[in-house]
């Protein structure tokens, strides 16, 4: 098996993880900010 950091995947059909982050200017962001709309959330690999 390819070694990877083992992390648990969230379940499809279940509530999405309640996560927060920040915009580059420091303003807070929360996944709940998008409640009432679909959200396509793209987790980027490293930026280069």
């Amino acid at each position: 098996m390819t070694p990877t950091d083992r992390v648990n995947r969230p379940t499809l059909g279940a509530p999405a993880p309640d996560i927060t982050a920040a915009f580059p200017d420091g303003r807070p962001w929360s996944i709940t900010d998008h409640r009432g709309r679909h959200l396509v959330l793209i987790f980027h690999r490293h930026i280069h």
């Binding site: 982050a21 409640r35 396509v40 280069h48």
Partner: protein, 130 residues
């Protein structure tokens, strides 16, 4: 991609990264990224969505070598940049419905492993499934 997603009603698209905020502006300019970008420096959001780190052979294997050869061929040495972040961090793409339910997930297994835009559009348009 942005054009296709912009066609979807009541849909937001957000790019999550873990890079330093000072890198974001240059990245957006270089790649013409016109999406909202948010930053999670400690990658707890990546962990929450089940995105770990790939193996060295998967991240820096033959496919990566081919990709960097292409960059060298097209842009020369100026096209290469020293990585500023964890190059082994895997990415993914997810769709959350208006009620906050995770309805689609793609867990990338390598740096160039991405779903098709058609898959993302279909996920937004699909009825909720379990």
């Amino acid at each position: 991609m942005r054009a296709r997603l912009d066609e979807l009603p009541d849909t937001d698209v957000v790019l999550m990264t873990f890079t330093d905020p000072s890198n974001v502006a240059a990245y957006r300019q270089r790649h013409a990224v016109d999406l909202p970008v948010v930053i999670d420096r400690d990658r707890s959001t990546y962990q929450a969505f089940g995105l770990g780190r790939g193996s060295l052979t998967r991240i820096w294997g033959l496919r990566a070598a081919k990709r960097y050869a292409e960059i060298l061929r097209n842009d020369g040495l100026s096209g290469l940049r020293r990585p500023t972040d964890d190059t082994r961090q895997l990415g993914g793409d997810f769709v959350i419905d208006p009620e906050g339910t995770l309805i689609y997930g793609f867990w990338g297994e390598g740096p160039d492993d991405r779903p098709s835009i058609d898959d993302l559009v279909a996920a937004v348009n699909a009825r909720p499934t379990r």
